[in-house]
Symmetry: C2
Subunit: 152 residues, 2 copies
């Protein structure tokens, strides 16, 4: 296996065997060095957002003291789910190496593929309703008027 | 404004004015009680995943000691971005009330809408490459053989 993916793979095994969560691991590399490695901790932390990629991004951001990981590469044992792909976009990561597919994850009983289908078809059982549009849209007018703000 | 949305709106204002992050707030309600409220802290925490909805979900999960928030309703000042919508799916939240739209967020310079377009068109500048498929797919075979595992 590729040496960085091997670390992600070992994370996935460790996480699964210690009952921290599903068999998912991720590694973030910058300039040829591992900045952070992490595995899924949904079960251990009771946090539904504690996927391997999210945990690795949070660790790397803390270590680099930046929300901008555009100089980093992510290695993940499985194709990122929509949540994690969104996090990768926000972190401005430019390159992702992944191992298993959404079909492999579905074989293990995970909903990654189902959530992609829900997003693509815009058909899901989530009940979404818009309220108080005017007051909340006004927040962005205030934001635009704010001086010395940092964009991200 | 709706009373729970007002709390989310106040969170957004507080977060923006204290330079914690963009003007986004979220509240999680269960059985007529606020379980958690949060705002965007990307700038304060340097964590690109620290969106209002993610922060609220993490807080509520910690308070309820569960990754399953299916009994909860989320109020958010803006249509959730793909990362946050994915987190909402994983948390099994069934109802979301949102205020502003992706277009309003784009007016404030945020990429929520751009990321939805990237997902829909499957066209983005992110370089994704598959490596080591066999070894990583095998993780799910191990997972399926694991006894006494918890699904999520």
């Amino acid at each position: 296996m590729h040496k960085w993916m091997k670390i992600a793979h070992d994370e996935a095994l460790e996480g699964m065997l210690s009952d921290d969560g599903g068999p998912f691991g991720a590694v973030i590399v910058k300039s040829g060095e591992v900045i952070a490695s992490a595995h899924n901790k949904v079960l251990q932390s009771k946090d539904p957002t504690a996927h391997a990629e999210i945990n690795a991004i949070r660790k790397a951001s803390a270590i680099l003291n930046s929300f901008d990981l555009s100089e980093c590469t992510l290695y993940t044992t499985c194709m990122p789910c929509p949540m994690c792909l969104g996090a990768i976009f926000w972190a401005r990561i430019k390159t992702v190496y992944y191992g298993a597919t959404e079909d492999d994850a579905a074989f293990g009983g995970f909903d990654d593929k189902a959530f992609y289908t829900m997003l693509e078809d815009k058909e899901h059982s989530l009940n979404m309703q818009q309220i108080d549009h005017k007051e909340n849209a006004a927040l962005f007018t205030l934001w635009n008027k704010k001086s010395n703000k940092t964009m991200y």
